[in-house]
C-alpha cells in the first residue's frame, strides 16, 4: 500500500516539476509581452487581463514549487510519508471535503478560470463575471470547510 503511494508521490513530484517549468516559461513570455507590447493601443481591460494571467502563473509556480518541496521531504522520510498518506486518506477530512463540494468545485473553478481567460480577449464583462463567480464559489466552499472542521 505504501509502495503504491510512494509511486503516486513520485508521479506528483514529476507533474509539479512540469507545472513549475511551464509556469516559468509562460511567466517569462508574459513579462516579455508586457515589456514589448504596443502600449499606445492597449486598454485598461487588456492590462487587467494580462495582470490576472501573470498573477495566476505566479500562483501556479508558487504552489507547484511548494508541492515539490513538501513531497520531496515526505518521500525521503518513512514517517512523514505515512503522515501524508494518513492526511490524504483520513475519513473525517474526506467527509469534510465532500461537504465542501470537493473535488467538483475545484474542477469547475479551473474550467471557469480557463473560460474567463479566453473570454477576456473578447468581452471583459464576461471575464469579470466568471472571475467573481469563481471567487464566490471558492469562498463558500472554504467557509463550509472551516465550519465543518470546527464542528466535526
Amino acid at each position: 500500500m505504501m509502495e503504491k503511494f510512494r509511486k503516486t508521490v513520485k508521479r506528483r513530484i514529476a507533474i509539479s516539476s512540469g507545472m513549475t517549468l511551464v509556469s516559468l516559461v509562460l511567466g517569462a513570455f508574459n513579462i516579455y509581452s508586457i515589456i514589448f507590447s504596443d502600449h499606445s493601443t492597449a486598454t485598461h481591460s487588456d492590462g487587467f487581463v494580462a495582470g490576472f494571467q501573470f498573477g495566476l502563473i505566479i500562483s501556479i509556480f508558487g504552489f507547484s514549487l511548494f508541492d515539490i518541496v513538501k513531497l520531496s521531504l515526505a518521500i525521503n522520510d518513512e514517517t512523514k510519508l505515512k503522515i501524508l498518506y494518513n492526511k490524504e486518506n483520513d475519513e473525517r477530512m474526506k467527509t469534510i471535503r465532500s461537504k465542501a463540494g470537493m473535488p467538483l468545485i475545484a474542477i469547475t473553478s479551473v474550467l471557469m478560470i480557463i473560460a474567463a481567460i479566453v473570454a477576456g480577449y473578447f468581452n471583459i464583462v464576461v471575464f469579470y463575471t466568471l472571475v467573481i463567480a469563481v471567487a464566490a464559489q471558492l469562498s463558500v466552499s472554504a467557509m463550509v470547510k472551516l465550519y465543518c472542521m470546527k464542528t466535526m
Binding site: T79, K82, I83, Y85, N86, K87, N89, D90, E91, R92, M93, M149, T151, M152
Partner: protein, 68 residues
C-alpha cells in the same frame, strides 16, 4: 459518542499523534473522536479497538445512541 480512547491512551502513555499514525488517521480526527464531535466509521473504530487489544464495545460507549 463517548469513548475511552483518552483514558486508554493515558494508560499506555501514548500521544494522539502516535495513535493516529498507528491506526491510519490524523491527530485532529483522534481529537474529534475523543471529544465526541466525530463518530468514527466501523473500520476506524475496529482499528482503534484492535490497537488497544479490546473490542469495539469496550472502547466506544453505545449506551446513549438511539435504539433501533
Amino acid at each position: 459518542m463517548k469513548t475511552r480512547i483518552k483514558e486508554l491512551r493515558k494508560e499506555r502513555k501514548l500521544s494522539q499523534e502516535e495513535l493516529a499514525l498507528a491506526v491510519g488517521t490524523t491527530r485532529q480526527t483522534i481529537t474529534s473522536i475523543e471529544v465526541g464531535k466525530y463518530t468514527a466509521s466501523l473500520v476506524l473504530a475496529y482499528k482503534i479497538a484492535h490497537y488497544f487489544g479490546l473490542t469495539i464495545e469496550d472502547v466506544f460507549d453505545f449506551s446513549e445512541e438511539d435504539e433501533f
